[in-house]
């Protein structure tokens, strides 16, 4: 009985020893202390995030336009004039819900990355749904954001079954402390959610190289669909990735945040969105306890450094 228990369950003492952060701990000790409520709209609203990012010198996909009210939806074709590809997103969406990517369009209709053709009325319907709050966090009325499509770098092509992986950084008091990338699989239905069967790859925060790869809580070495060797991942422009995460702290004032960063072939790393309540799956992907790391930051990491200095501190260790 006890053996059976310990096969499927970890003892709380062991989890604590490993410095694993639980949900209650995250909410009570970290988020409620370091993330003030009034700062949340800065990251929950993608339009605000974009505007702020611009001020702080963080690259984001360019804003083409936004549609706030139903009657503006008629204006949609004017907004996208001159843009062949673009993305329609809900301003208050989360987890990639309601994101519609258009790679090309002409008089007869629109094309999605999978090659599906959509008519104008389908796009109009999608915008209507977005405005009525179908994809927003609390179901409240929302704004549809139209932004430029990221010209994704091809280095991840072999590693993902569908969609483009992004890098998730956990930033604590301005220090990027943990990183992972999530790779969609056939089992996850092309989605990047770990609990749906996507592969989580923990990345070494100093180098951007693979630490560990897991799928459904079990270590794996190769991508189940593409067969790519997961241990070979090395994210280029790693310092720039970290710098975006570090700057996001000054930009939002959030002590604990998640930054989703994609790599554009021409413009380098770009911040896709920020999250004021990043999940705990990053621990599973890294095989490491987050709480332990955060305590180390509290104790040893210098305060009052600029974002660049913090990134250097992370990259070079504790050298002065």
């Amino acid at each position: 009985m006890f053996k059976w228990l310990s096969k499927y369950f970890a003892s709380p003492a062991k989890l604590r020893e490993a410095g694993i952060m639980g949900m209650n701990n995250r909410n009570f000790k970290i988020i409620s202390k370091f993330n003030r409520r009034r700062l949340f709209p800065l990251v929950d609203d993608k339009v605000q995030t974009k505007n702020l990012a611009q001020k702080f010198g963080i690259t984001t996909p360019r804003l083409i336009g936004k549609i706030e009210f139903q009657h503006e939806a008629a204006n949609f074709e004017n907004i996208i004039k001159g843009w062949n590809s673009f993305v329609i997103k809900p301003a208050h969406g989360s987890g990639g819900k309601g994101v519609l990517v258009i790679t090309a369009h002409d008089e007869t209709g629109f094309t999605t990355p999978s090659g599906r053709r959509l008519a104008y009325k389908d796009i109009y319907q999608h915008i209507s749904n977005t405005l009525s709050g179908l994809y927003s966090l609390g179901g409240q009325y929302d704004t549809a954001v139209i932004e430029e499509m990221v010209n994704f770098s091809h280095i991840f092509d072999d590693y993902s079954y569908q969609g483009i992986p992004d890098v998730r950084l956990i930033v604590y008091k301005g220090y990027p402390v943990m990183a992972m990338t999530r790779l969609a699989t056939a089992a996850s239905g092309g989605r990047a959610n770990l609990h749906q069967g996507a592969v989580g790859v923990g990345l070494d925060i100093k180098t951007g190289k693979t630490l560990k790869a897991v799928m459904r809580n079990k270590p794996i070495t190769h991508h189940p669909d593409t067969g790519a060797d997961l241990s070979k991942i090395e994210v280029p422009f790693w310092r720039e990735h970290l710098l975006i995460g570090a700057k996001a702290y000054e930009m939002t004032g959030l002590g604990y945040l998640g930054a989703d960063i994609v790599l554009d072939a021409n413009k380098g790393p770009m911040m896709l969105e920020l999250n004021a309540r990043p999940g705990l799956a990053v621990q599973i992907a890294n095989g490491l306890g987050l709480y332990k790391v955060l305590k180390r930051v509290d104790k040893y990491y210098p305060k009052k450094l600029s974002p660049e200095e913090r990134v250097d501190f992370i990259l070079n260790g504790r050298k002065k």
């Binding site: 639980g22 701990n25 599973i284």
Partner: protein
């Protein structure tokens, strides 16, 4: 960091203090309500109230009158609710559980009445522990009496039961033993018999005393209180019926007076007779509470409590009072166990519905509404409706399903169908809507898992709140809700792992 640690400790500390205060308050209040308002711990809507009237009549002889009448004391079994005295011109006082009436010299037949209202505290009947009384003085027997007593005690051994029972049974034997007859006084009254038995017990060093009481029976009139014998056996006083030897307080028996003191002492009169009459009435225990509160000079407190409200309002409050407990369970399920359900309080509302419908019909009915609702919702998906009109349409469909099931249930007298009306319509519609969206976005597996988790949470809540006693206690002792409030707040400072996280993070430890 130290400061933060301090802050955490302080919040918890303060909440713990408040929890303890609320516990203390609830404890005191429960004690108070049980003892002064007569609330019981088990749901009991009706309580017996006995009116016992003692009519003392005597002929005054022209001297100053002093009447001393034994009165029943409140015990665990019976609580004195009210008492009143009808004795014009007499001055009354209570001393040592005896009613004292005094008056200037009078002539002729006198009648005084003493009436008490007794509340039958059925839950608390039992034998009472008592301190050891001193060993009784050995009765004075001469040689001949001693020999007879020894023989009686020897004969008594053949009777079943313990010593007092053996003696009582021997004395009640028909035809009586010649030895017993020799020992008996000439006039065989219950009192004389009891005294003889008592002296025999004293001979064997067993303390005993007489107890006078009244058998509470409806519309009973009697001139003589019933007599019983109490003996101190095995560390407690036990009551013995003098005619059968049966142990224990008979049902509906109230003891007025114990020990050797007389029932009535009278100075300044003769030919006294005490006549008892008993009247039983039934009343609800909450309405009785008002009377008892008045007795305890707490009428104002009672008047502003919920038990003074009209019954229908009490009933809806009764329903409301169970919510905090259900909320506590949901908080535990989510923050301690870590089950993710559809909507925070959805399982609670489902559990509430299940209480009204009954478990099995409720679950089946829920499954039917969900299935039909999801099928209809799947049709809506193709129509690409806007959010608010779509959810409105789902609400209307749920109403139609419920209506159909209710009619079906009536037509075929099926409890499954007729229980449909108890499900909260809007909540059902939202479950269907969410389940359908989860289904599209995260697959049927995740959608079903969420529904099942919600049902599990609802069942756990149901298991607690379906209990009639728990519902009664939460209503009768509503200050417990204060305890729950602080428990929930304390749970808000729980930073340990959730049960599901022990499984989720299992791969992270060796």
């Amino acid at each position: 960091m130290l400061y933060r640690l301090k802050r955490l400790v302080t919040i918890r500390f303060i909440l713990t203090i408040f929890l303890l205060i609320s516990l203390g308050y609830a404890g005191y209040s429960m004690y108070y309500k049980i003892n002064y308002w007569g609330f019981s711990l088990a749901p009991k809507t009706r309580a017996n109230v006995w009116t016992v009237e003692a009519d003392v009549s005597f002929e005054a002889d022209g001297n100053p009158i002093k009447i001393s009448l034994a009165t029943p004391k409140s015990s665990n079994e019976y609580k004195v609710l009210d008492q009143d005295i009808v004795a014009p011109g007499y001055q009354s006082s209570l001393e040592d559980g005896r009613l004292i009436l005094t008056s200037a010299p009078r002539e002729g037949i006198q009648n005084v009445y003493y009436r008490i209202l007794l509340f039958d505290n059925e839950g608390a009947k039992g034998k009472v522990e008592a301190p050891t009384p001193p060993a009784p003085e050995a009765p004075f027997f001469d040689e001949k009496q001693k020999a007879v007593a020894d023989e009686i005690l020897f004969l008594a051994q053949k009777q079943p039961g313990d010593l007092p029972q053996q003696i009582i049974r021997l004395f009640n034997q028909i035809p009586p033993e010649p030895t017993v007859v020799a020992f008996m006084p000439l006039k065989k009254t219950p009192k004389a018999t009891a005294e003889i038995i008592s002296s025999l017990l004293a001979y064997k060093k067993v303390p005993s005393r007489l107890a006078r009481g009244i058998k509470l029976a409806e519309n009973k009139q009697s001139f003589e209180p019933d007599l019983m014998l109490e003996a101190y056996i095995d560390g407690r006083w036990k009551l013995y019926d003098l005619s059968t030897g049966q142990i224990g307080l008979p049902k509906d028996f109230i003891i007025i007076q114990r020990g050797g003191n007389s029932l009535l002492d009278l100075e300044g009169g003769s030919g006294s007779v005490v006549k008892f009459s008993v009247l039983k009435s039934v009343t609800t225990s909450f309405s009785l509470a008002g009377k008892r509160a008045k007795l305890a000079n707490e009428k104002d407190v009672f008047d502003s409590s919920i038990y003074n409200l009209p019954v229908d309002q009490q009933n809806s409050l009764k329903w409301l009072m169970i919510f905090p407990l259900a909320i506590l369970i949901i908080a535990v399920i989510r923050n301690f166990i870590g089950l993710s359900t559809m909507g925070t309080f959805t399982p609670m509302l489902l559990a509430m519905a299940l209480v009204k419908t009954g478990l099995i019909p409720g679950i089946i009915c829920f499954a039917i509404i969900m299935t039909v609702g999801l099928l209809i919702r799947a049709l809506f998906t193709r129509l690409n409706l806007l959010l608010v009109p779509r959810i409105s349409a789902v609400v209307i469909c749920v109403i139609l399903i419920i209506q159909f099931m209710t009619v079906f249930g009536y037509r075929f007298s099926s409890s499954i169908g007729s229980s449909a009306a108890f499900f909260p319509i809007i909540i059902m519609a939202w479950i269907i809507e969410r389940a359908s969206i989860t289904w599209e976005e995260e697959g049927a597996f995740n959608s079903c898992r969420q529904i099942i988790f919600s049902v599990i949470a609802a069942l756990a809540t149901y298991a607690v709140i379906c209990n009639e006693t728990i519902r009664y206690i939460m209503f009768a002792f509503n200050e417990l809700n204060l305890v729950i409030l602080f428990l929930v707040m304390l749970l808000g400072t729980y930073t340990g792992y959730r049960l599901t996280e022990l499984k989720r993070f299992r791969p992270l430890v060796k």
